[in-house]
């Protein structure tokens, strides 16, 4: 049994992991509120971001351009997915469309297996640097850079949603689709925008998780589920809720793994989901905050 002394270390691990769940959850919430679909390709966006970046870096491209290239590729794929499978089938029920995304996720995973194989990829970032020691907590540079990137991405998302007309229109569409449409906002364009944003954010999440946990072709499924749990925990209604849900889930997992045993990490996550769904089907944090976005 670990003592209280390890708590800061667990919290750090939890926040790092949680910040990645937060990004996946934001993607879920954006798409869900604009289209009514739970998009289970969200985790595959992360996987592709990670695998493509690792592949590009292996072939000699620098990390930064490799990342941009990977994000752009994932965004392009999301556009194709939205136009090809989601938008053209928008008359179908949301439940059908959720199955469409599950199918697409399986297909993406299959293709990834063919291209990348089963071997895990590493993304060498700051590997030679020794972890920082801050008040007895050992902070790896990968973890630190992950947190920094998440902060920047979250600030960018908020700038977009709060300060730009496109972002305001997207939020309007999330809050009240009918009223938005009556103002001339095209819901299909907003759906595309939501997919583009979610794909970009998802790919970035994948890139920053790769140096911490390695990248494998099938990492997407678990990330989708964790992102979904985080989004549900946050009330499935707003980006701030999703981010809070992600951080909370990461911390709960880290505490579960640290104090009970690492085998219980995922058990903690799914237990959280069950509790949330039973106690409050519309999420905990959303219910507490009582508002959207």
């Amino acid at each position: 049994m670990e003592g209280l002394a390890s708590l800061p270390q667990f919290l750090l691990v939890g926040l790092t992991l949680g910040s990645i769940y937060a990004l996946v959850a934001v993607g879920f919430v954006l798409i869900y509120n604009v289209t009514g679909i739970l998009n289970f390709t969200q985790g595959e966006f992360c996987m592709l971001g990670a695998m493509l970046t690792a592949t590009f870096v292996r072939s000699g491209i620098h990390l930064l351009p490799a990342s941009f290239l990977a994000v752009a590729t994932v965004v392009l794929l999301a556009v194709l997915l939205e136009r090809g499978a989601i938008s053209s089938a928008r008359k179908a029920t949301p439940l059908t469309l959720i199955f469409v995304t599950l199918g697409a996720a399986t297909a993406i995973r299959g293709i990834a297996l063919l291209i990348f194989g089963t071997e895990p990829y590493t993304l060498p970032v700051f590997q030679n640097l020794r972890p920082l020691q801050l008040a007895g907590v050992s902070v790896t540079w990968a973890s630190l850079s992950a947190l920094a990137v998440v902060v920047v991405v979250v600030l960018l998302i908020f700038f977009l949603l709060e300060r730009t007309m496109a972002g305001k229109a997207l939020r309007a569409c999330m809050i009240n689709k009918l009223a938005a449409q009556l103002m001339g906002i095209n819901p299909q364009r907003m759906s595309l925008l939501a997919f583009v944003l979610s794909a970009a954010v998802g790919a970035v999440a994948g890139i920053i998780i790769a140096p911490i946990t390695l990248a494998v072709y099938d990492m997407g499924l678990m990330l989708s589920l964790k992102g979904f749990i985080a989004a549900t925990l946050g009330g499935l209604a707003s980006a701030p809720g999703a981010i809070a849900g992600g951080l909370l889930l990461g911390v709960l997992e880290a505490l579960g793994a640290g104090y009970i045993g690492s085998g219980y990490k995922d058990v903690a996550a799914f237990a959280v989901l069950l509790v949330v769904l039973f106690v409050r089907p519309d999420g905990l944090i959303g219910a507490i905050r009582g508002e959207r976005v």
Binding site: M165, K168, A169, I175, N176, Q181, L182, M183, I185
Partner: protein, 237 residues
């Protein structure tokens, strides 16, 4: 300006409008009154492009616009204020007004701050609340906000669905004044009301709708004293 000809609209298997005819001249305020479920909102929704008609024509400025989507019709000047004050609750009053001008944001971006100030002059209850979340406003203020938001879209034909619903008499009077002042600005308005007296007091002309058909029409003052209207809707005094 608008001629609705034999309009038929169904929600799934339920036919709601069975060949509705109304017409509206430029600069007129027309009230459409009728009981719960008569099909008033369905009519406005079809004109604004939310519901696709299964038959009939909606001729607006000389062109049949039946079946065009709402986001296109807004650009042509048909703007609907739907029932139940659909504000963007989590967004500020200012952003709600700004989004009213969404369809002309690109070309007229620089004009919008001044226009928003003008709207706030007109709706003085909203002044000083620009940063407040729209969902925290009172019902009357929300109604003013959605009308102001619609005006930011520069409508030629404004469609108001039950603007007085659930509001105190004093506020209903304010809304009535407001709609009348819209006529002075040369706007054409169709206002749907269950509150028959309020509706007719706003309007020049009125239609009475029953089960998807026009049963009575005429000048608003005449309808206010029409015995059929009085019996059925006003409760004879």
């Amino acid at each position: 300006m608008l001629t609705v000809n034999g309009l038929q609209v169904a929600h799934g298997a339920i036919k709601v409008l069975h060949g509705l005819n109304i017409s509206v001249e430029q600069g007129e305020i027309v009230a459409v009154i009728g009981a719960n479920g008569a099909g008033k909102s369905t009519m406005l929704g079809a004109i604004a492009g939310i519901y696709r008609p299964s038959g009939g024509q909606i001729v607006y400025c000389g062109r049949n616009v039946a079946g065009q989507p709402a986001e296109i019709l807004v650009k042509q000047g048909i703007v609907l204020v739907p029932e139940r004050r659909q504000v963007f609750a989590a967004l500020s009053v200012y952003d709600n007004l700004l989004l009213g001008a969404y369809h002309r944001y690109r070309s007229e971006k620089h004009l919008l701050p001044a226009e928003i100030s003008r709207i706030l002059e007109m709706f003085t209850v909203l002044k000083g609340r620009e940063k407040q979340a729209a969902g925290t406003l009172s019902g009357g203020m929300q109604q003013m906000l959605v009308i102001g938001r619609a005006m930011m879209a520069k409508p030629k034909l404004l469609l108001l669905d039950e603007p007085s619903l659930g509001l105190a008499p004093l506020i209903v009077r304010e809304i009535t004044q407001l709609v009348r002042s819209l006529r002075e600005q040369g706007m054409t308005v169709i206002v749907v009301e269950q509150n028959v007296r309020a509706g007719l007091e706003m309007a020049d002309r009125g239609y009475v709708l029953e089960r998807g058909l026009v049963v009575i029409d005429g000048a608003a003052e005449e309808l206010l004293v029409d015995c059929r209207v009085q019996n059925a809707y006003l409760g004879r005094k």
